[in-house]
Amino acid sequence: MSVIQMKEIVTRFGERVVHDGVSLHIESNEIYGILGGSGSGKSVLMKEMIMLMEPDAGEITVLGHTLKKIRYSQAQALRQEWGVLFQFGALFSSMTIAENIEVQLKEYTDISKEMRARLVQSKIALVGLEPYVGSLYPSELSGGMIKRAALARALAMEPKLLFLDEPTSGLDPVGARNFDKLIVELRDLLGITVVMITHDLDSIFSIVDRMAILADKRVVAEGTLKNVLQSQHPFVEEFFKNEYTKQKYLGQLDLKEAADV
C-alpha cells in the first residue's frame, strides 16, 4: 500500500518554476530518500507533503487522504499520525526538552501526568539521550543532542510516518552513523515509514531503501539504489559516479550485487 503518492505536482514561486510534474510514491515500512541538488525543491516537496505549503497543481495523497480536498478536522487528525524532524530541530525554545516531547501528549490525550512523564523518559532514552537532558532547554543542547531531542518529539505521538529533513547534516561522522542506525532500528521496531531528505552518501548507501532523484524540476530517477544508478541523467552521473564515490562506495556496491546473486 502506498503511504504517500504524489501525482504531477507543479510548484511555482512567482515566475520561477520549482516542480513541473513531479510524481512519486512511497511504500509502507520503507526508508525513502529524496535527493537532489540545492534549489531542486526537496524541502518544498516535503513541505507540500506535510501541508505547510500547497502545490499549484497536482494531487498528493497521504495515508489515504487527498490533501487538496481534506477537511480541517481531518487535517488536524492526520497531523497526529506523523512526526516531523526539522533540519534545525525547531524545538520550542520556551520549553524544556521534556515539555517539548510532552506537549502533544498533553494536548491530544488524557493520559495521566505520571504516565506522560514515563512516556517522555522512554522517548528520551529511545533516542539515546541521558535522562537529565529532559530538564534542559533547547539552547543548552549541542547540535547532535538537539537532533535527537527533536526526533524524540517527532516520535511522541507514536506516528506511522516520520519525515526527516536532513537528519544527519551538522552531525559528526560517528554521530551521523549512530543516527542512521537509530532510524533503521525505529523502522524495524515500530514499523514506521520514513521519508528523508538527505545529501549524506553514507545514509544513501546504507539505510535508504528507495529514493527519488529530483533534477530539472521533476523526478529523473526513482527506485532502489541499483535502479537509480542505471540512470544516465547528468545529476546522477555527477552525484554517484564521481571519483570519490566510485572509490568509496561503488566497490562496496559491486560486492553487494555479487552477494545478491
Binding site: A77, R79, Q80, V84, A90, F92, S93
Partner: protein, 394 residues
C-alpha cells in the same frame, strides 16, 4: 593632382602611430603588458604576475588596446597567474574575438587547465535591470496592495477562528491568556501610570494659563477630567501598549517563525491562530481596559497636582467639582474604545510577526512596521470614534 586623403583617415593613422610609440614607452611603466601595432595585426605581450593584486593595472592596460584584423597574444612571459588573472584574460579574449582573428601563443598547460575550469563553470549572468522612477512607484503600490490583501485575509482567518472558539469554548487557552494578560497588563502599570500622570499635569498646566486669564480657574477640573477620560487616557495608554506589547508580539512570533517553531506547531496540528494569536488578542482585550481605567485615575491625579501647584486649587475643591462635571457617560465613551484599540494592536502585532521571512533583519523591519501601523491605526480609530460620538451628539 595631389593625392586625396580623407582627413579622418589621416588623423586616425597618426593617432595609431602615436599610440604605438606610447605603448613602447609603456613597457617601462607597465610591467604586465605591452603591445605592438602593425598595419593589420596587433601583438600583445603579457608578462609578470597576472594576479588579483594587479588586476586593476592589467585592466587599465588592456582596455586601451586598439582593434585590428588579427591579434597575436603572447603569454610566454607570464610568471605567475591566478583565477582572477585567467578570468581577465578570458574576458578580453572574448572581446577581441568579436571582430578579430585571435591567436594565443606561449601558454602553459596550467593556464590552459585553469581557463577550461573557469569556462566550464561559467554561467551567463543577467544583470538586474535598473528600475525607473515610475516602476519603483508602481512596485511599491503593488506591495502595499498585496500587504492590505494579506492583512484582510489574516483578519478573516482570525474572526473565523474566534467564531469557532466561541462555539467550542473548551478550546480557549486560559493559561496562555492569563500569562499574556499579566505580561502586557500588570507589568505595564508603572510606565502607563507615569505617562498618564505627566500628560494630566501638562494638560492642567496648559489649561491653567488660559483659564486664569478669564478667572475661570475652576474649569480646569472639566478640562482635565473630561479630556483625560474621553480621549487622552485611552489613546495614551493604547500608544504605550502598542509600542510595548505590539512590538513584543511581533518579535516573539517572528523569532518562532525563523526557527521553524511555527512550522513545527502546524505539523503537530497546533493551529497558530488558537495557540498564538487568539490568546494574545483576548489577553490584550482584557488588560487594556484595565490599564485605561488606571491611566484615567492617575491622569486626573496629575491634573489635580498641577492645579494645586499652579492655581492653588485645593483637593477638596477639585473633587467637589469632579463629582459635578464628570458624568459616567464620559467614562463609558472612553472605555468603549479600549477593546477596539486592543484588538487592533494585538492583531497587527501578530500579523507582522507572521510576515517575518527567513532572515533576522526582517524581524527589525516588521517590528518597526508593527509599532508604526498600530499607533497610526489607534489614532485613526480614535478619530473615527470622535466623529461617531459627535454625530450622535454625545
Amino acid at each position: 593632382m595631389a593625392k586625396y586623403v580623407p582627413i579622418t583617415a589621416y588623423l586616425f593613422d597618426r593617432f595609431m602611430k602615436f599610440n604605438a610609440i606610447l605603448s613602447i614607452i609603456g613597457i617601462m611603466k607597465n610591467p604586465f603588458l605591452y603591445y605592438e601595432v602593425h598595419p593589420h595585426t596587433i601583438k600583445i605581450f603579457s608578462s609578470g604576475a597576472w594576479t588579483l593584486a594587479h588586476l586593476r593595472k592589467l585592466e587599465q592596460a588592456l582596455c586601451n588596446i586598439p582593434s585590428r584584423k588579427k591579434v597575436i597574444w603572447d603569454l610566454s612571459a607570464v610568471e605567475e597567474f591566478d583565477s582572477a588573472g585567467v578570468l581577465l584574460f578570458s574576458k578580453y579574449l572574448e572581446q577581441f574575438k568579436v571582430d578579430s582573428l585571435v591567436e594565443v601563443i606561449g601558454y602553459t598547460s596550467d593556464q590552459q587547465n585553469m581557463y577550461r575550469l573557469l569556462k566550464k563553470n561559467e554561467k551567463r549572468v543577467l544583470l538586474p535591470k535598473k528600475r525607473g522612477f515610475l516602476e519603483k512607484i508602481g512596485r511599491s503600490t503593488i506591495d502595499v496592495w498585496v500587504d492590505i490583501k494579506a492583512f484582510t485575509t489574516f483578519i478573516g482567518h482570525l474572526f473565523s477562528a474566534i467564531f469557532n472558539l466561541l462555539l467550542h469554548p473548551r478550546n480557549i487557552r486560559f493559561k496562555e491568556i492569563t500569562y499574556h494578560a499579566y505580561e502586557s497588563g500588570f507589568t505595564a502599570l508603572i510606565i502607563v501610570g507615569l505617562t498618564a500622570f505627566l500628560v494630566g499635569m501638562v494638560v492642567a498646566y496648559q489649561g491653567a494659563v488660559q483659564l486664569a486669564k478669564f478667572g475661570a480657574d475652576i474649569f480646569i477640573v472639566d478640562t482635565v477630567a473630561i479630556s483625560m477620560v474621553r480621549e487622552l487616557g485611552p489613546m495614551i495608554t493604547a500608544i504605550v501598549i502598542a509600542g510595548r506589547s505590539g512590538s513584543a508580539y511581533t518579535a516573539e512570533i517572528g523569532a518562532m517563525k525563523i526557527t521553524e517553531e511555527i512550522a513545527a506547531m502546524r505539523t503537530m496540528g497546533f493551529d497558530p491562530y488558537y495557540f498564538l494569536v487568539i490568546p494574545r488578542v483576548f489577553a490584550l482585550m482584557i488588560s487594556l481596559p484595565l490599564l485605561i481605567f488606571f491611566a484615567d485615575m492617575i491622569g486626573i491625579a496629575g491634573g489635580m497636582f498641577a492645579a494645586k501647584m499652579q492655581l492653588g486649587l485645593s483637593i477638596t475643591q477639585f473633587t467637589d467639582r469632579l463629582y459635578e462635571v464628570l458624568d459616567v457617560k464620559h467614562y463609558l465613551l472612553g472605555m468603549l474604545k479600549a477593546p477596539v484599540f486592543a484588538f487592533v494592536i494585538a492583531a497587527i502585532g501578530c500579523y507582522r510577526g507572521f510576515k517575518v521571512s527567513d532572515n533576522t533583519e526582517s524581524i527589525g523591519l516588521q517590528t518597526t512596521a508593527s509599532v508604526v501601523n498600530s499607533i497610526f491605526m489607534v489614532i485613526a480609530f480614535d478619530a473615527l470614534f470622535s466623529i461617531i460620538y459627535t454625530e450622535f451628539g454625545i
